[in-house]
Amino acid sequence: MSLAEQRLKELDIQLPAPRLKGRGSAPYKIVDDLLFIGGVAPLDEDGNLAYTGRVGADLTTEEGYNAGRLVGYNMLRLIRDALGDLDRVDYIVRAIAMVSGKKGFSEIYKVADGFSDIMTEVLGERGVHARNAVGASTLNGNAPIICDAIIKIRK
């Protein structure tokens, strides 16, 4: 068992199954040594949104943070599907965290931290990434947070 897989087991983290979107879109795409991951929502094991609503109105910042962690699990699952093994992650290059908050909500970074924390908890130093956290007026399905990422693949 790889180190990251072992870590997942220790943390008792189950990675939920991914959901396929429209025919023209792909959940991930590999170009040379880069893995591109499309927007990932906080989905439960059945592929439904586990959290909906705007942070600051329908959800607390803490709930938003937990939604961010769930996005992280979903993304790790996608990375494993794409690469076969999380140990093939050289490092995460960059991520965008889009957070849907009520008007004036500014704790976007705290919600995005849910995602970032999972990445470093599971991948360690390799999970550290440049991050662009931005407030969205609305996200698909009324999700509170959606993240994407670009990942460098180990040679």
Binding site: G24, K29, F36, A136, L139, N140, N142, I146
Partner: protein
Amino acid sequence: MGKLDIKKKLIELPANEIEIPYIDYTGRALIGLRESNGLVYVSGTGCEDPTDGHGVWTGAVGREVSLEEGYKAAQWCALLQLNIMRNQYGLDRIDSVVRAFALIQVADDFYDLDKVFDGYSDVMYSVFRDRGRHVRTIMGTRNLPNHLITIEVETIFKLKD
């Protein structure tokens, strides 16, 4: 052949036939693109008429613009980008569509953003099939430039070696 009429906002795309409009950019500012290591980064492309700069679709999906019209606006962005790529490289040089980042102006209670952006993804799939499949990041916003155009898309293409 697929038919595209900007003024009537009409885009009909039969499954295997897509007509990508030829647009005369003479004297106009090109929508920017930049190549690095075989990847082409195309600037935010709005649902505008590039010959006069006017927004063809303006307003929020779910309020001023229906889902169906939003889908067409997304198709239009895809066709504009293909036009830009053809002018610069020729379509045969495109290896694949890698990633699209979409900003869509939506009403506060409109949540079907994926379905709007399917208009873009469906065009890329129709033209390039599996090579047209891309990852996408879709964000709802309350404001977009040029008198509140409905959608703007930034894309990374991969060129053939």
